[in-house]
């Protein structure tokens, strides 16, 4: 707010643009689908309670579950790696690719890989990385970044995609979704067959069996995790549940909240590498468990945000997100959840501004399948920002002055009188068209009511006072 960084300047540039309109329409469509499927599913509220309990239990027992999970993966012949930060995670992946002489990598959707800037790092080391999720493929082709955690190209219309394909792939223009999908599939099929390694994200890890679950709607996740010789699964360290029963509940609420589906089309379960009698599957399975700031969040007051299952419903319902889209947030995690996660993962500077990118309307908490109390966390982070002196001087000084006035009825009475008198020259018929100073932002877009000549308290004193 005081400096032209991060959210505000990006947001101002995005408001009212073609991209913002595409976001608004896309987010509303996703939310309508969610509302329809939830309305049709009477036990949703009960499932949300259970999903919340499951996720909180996992966070409270994280060390134990991760240790158990690691043992199970290794029993199946997989390898588990722990990465303390993004750099270590990148090095681990690069080393695995080097040891397995992997030159071509196919990827299914992984937000964590975006978080650690994996593609750029691998490409700089001569590895070819191909995104296979249709949305991520489009993002990669455009040299863009995802604008939504589950719908990476929510900011593009199908006409935009048609023009992009025409430009980058040298084909005739079409904006028919089925044709566009087929074009991408044809391009990707060959890559799947040639790829040395597949990198995926992890929607959930299951401690009791050492399995990782990857859900997709396009089938690319299944090919990524089975066709190449090597599979590397990247997971944030919080993305775990105890048991299969728990996973079932979480996957139910995830699909409904994310895309309004009863279940995602493909639920891929990977439990170790290919066995002798298996028809397919990778020779090696590596799971990279990434901390990268999560331990810090876990020990603080916003720990509950780690219970998030990345459905994106809070983005779709957020009036701020819908007006500007994910690119305004400056990192891979956008919307209400991003405004809590990003300052936690990357620090308050310069990300302290994100918790202020909210009207505190509470819709995010209402729609969250895990009932995460996002508004309370935004308020908590605002307190931290304020106590660390991040707020602009006018706001801090102005609020101190306001408080001195509001804690003295006599000063309050005089201030109202002065406010009315001082605004007389800039008012017309009870409204102000332009406020000078920090309040200017209001009148850039709206008239402001002129302080009344006679306040209610004054009226009461004259007419009802004893």
């Amino acid at each position: 707010m005081s400096e032209p960084v991060t959210f505000l300047s990006r947001a101002e540039a995005l408001v009212g643009t073609h991209e913002a309109n595409a976001i608004e329409n896309g987010a509303r469509t996703l939310l309508e689908k969610r509302d329809r499927v939830v309305a049709d599913f009477p036990i949703m509220e009960e499932l949300r309670d259970r999903a919340r309990a499951i996720r909180l239990h996992a966070l409270n027992n994280l060390d134990r579950l991760l240790a158990h999970f690691t043992d199970r993966v290794e029993e199946q012949g997989g390898v588990v790696h722990f990465a303390a930060d993004a750099e270590e995670a990148r090095s681990i992946v690069a080393a695995i690719l080097e040891e397995t002489s992997s030159k071509l990598v196919v990827k299914s959707k992984s937000m964590v890989s975006e978080e650690i800037d994996l593609n750029e790092h691998l490409e700089s080391r001569g590895v070819e990385v191909v995104e296979t999720d249709l949305g991520e493929y489009i993002v990669q082709l455009a040299g863009d970044t995802p604008s939504h955690i589950i719908a990476p190209v929510l900011h593009m219309t199908r006409q935009d995609v048609g023009a992009l394909f025409q430009d980058k792939l040298g084909i005739g223009y079409t904006d028919d979704p089925t044709e566009l999908n087929q074009i991408a599939r044809d391009h990707l099929r060959e890559q799947f067959l040639r790829a040395d390694a597949g990198i995926s994200g992890v929607n959930l890890a299951i401690a009791e069996s050492g399995s990782v679950v990857v859900v997709t709607n396009e089938g690319n996740g299944r090919l990524t995790t089975t066709a190449p010789r090597v599979h590397i699964a990247l997971m944030g360290m919080e993305r775990i549940v105890s048991r299969w029963e728990d996973a079932a509940v979480v996957l139910e609420v995830l699909a409904k909240s994310a895309t309004g589906q009863r279940l995602s089309v493909y639920t891929n379960v990977i439990t170790g590498p290919r066995r002798e009698d298996d028809n397919d599957g990778p020779e090696q399975v590596h799971v990279v468990i990434i901390d990268n700031g999560r331990s810090d969040i876990l020990s603080g007051e916003t720990a509950e945000i780690l219970a998030c299952i990345r459905c994106g419903a809070c983005l779709n319902i957020c009036p701020v997100f819908r007006s500007v889209g994910g690119h305004a947030y400056g990192t891979v995690y956008s919307g209400p959840v991003g405004s809590v996660v990003t300052p936690g993962l990357l620090g308050m500077e310069p990300w302290w501004e994100l918790p202020y990118a909210s009207t505190l309307c509470g819709a995010c908490e209402e729609v969250c399948p895990i009932r995460i109390q996002i508004p309370s966390m935004l308020l908590h982070l605002r307190q931290r920002a304020a106590s660390e002196g991040k707020l602009p001087g006018w706001l801090e000084k102005g609020m101190a002055r306001y408080s001195r006035t509001a804690t003295s009825p006599e000063k309050w009475r005089r201030a109202k009188k002065w406010a009315s008198r001082l605004t007389a020259p800039i008012s017309s018929r009870g409204w102000i068209r332009r406020i000078p100073g920090p309040g200017r932002g209001w009148t850039d877009y709206r008239d402001f009511p002129r302080p009344a000549k006679e306040s209610f308290a004054e009226w009461w004193r004259l007419h009802r006072g004893s």
């Binding site: 706001l395 306001y402 509001a406 877009y445």
Partner: protein, 241 residues
Amino acid sequence: MQGPHVQLFVTCLVDALAPQVGRSTLAALETAGCDVAFPEGQTCCGQPAFNVGLNDRAREMAEHTLDVLDATEGPVVLPSGSCTEMIVHHYKELFDGTDREEQADRVAGRTRELSQFLTDQDNPPTMKCDDCTVAYHYSCHGLRGLGLDVSADALLEGADRVKLEGDRECCGFGGLFAVEMPAVSAAIMDTKLDQVLASGADTLVGSDVSCLMHLEGGLRRRGAKIEVKHIAELLGDSDSV
């Protein structure tokens, strides 16, 4: 029949910017048979400071408000869901574990939003606007913070009411958000105003002056001829008191 003795807390915005809403609130409460007192010394509940994270400042104003209200008896009624939520929910957080905790609980327990309070009365006031077509906007803090999704509906039963698309979505006001991130606030407001204009209503009604002055200020910039009213203004005549 004589109704309860109530304390009217008008809120800082009504006091300074919309005193007619305060008088209408008084009229509506008196129509319902209430004996209304106005605790002197009331100012601001402290929400503006709380919402930007300046909790020390918020606490100062909250302490002042608690002292003013705790010196009185009977229900405290506010024509605002937002300020009611501040007192009912957030004072607890501000004074948790302090020697003000009990006082905060005591005052929170007596505090009610206007439409919530009126619908609980035996003889709530009825609509005073025969020829207006009403669109009602549910402000977020009353709706989601206090769970008041039916009390305004009940009070507006006699109204010629049209459906407002997105009536449970935020208007973009957000307190100081409207000044700090005005372009984003206005973009959300524009969506709401488009919906208001499309509804066919000639009167936009809500129960928070904060959201309403933001929307009215925006409608004025568009030159739109739509009346903006607090629900109290449809239930009580400000000139009658």
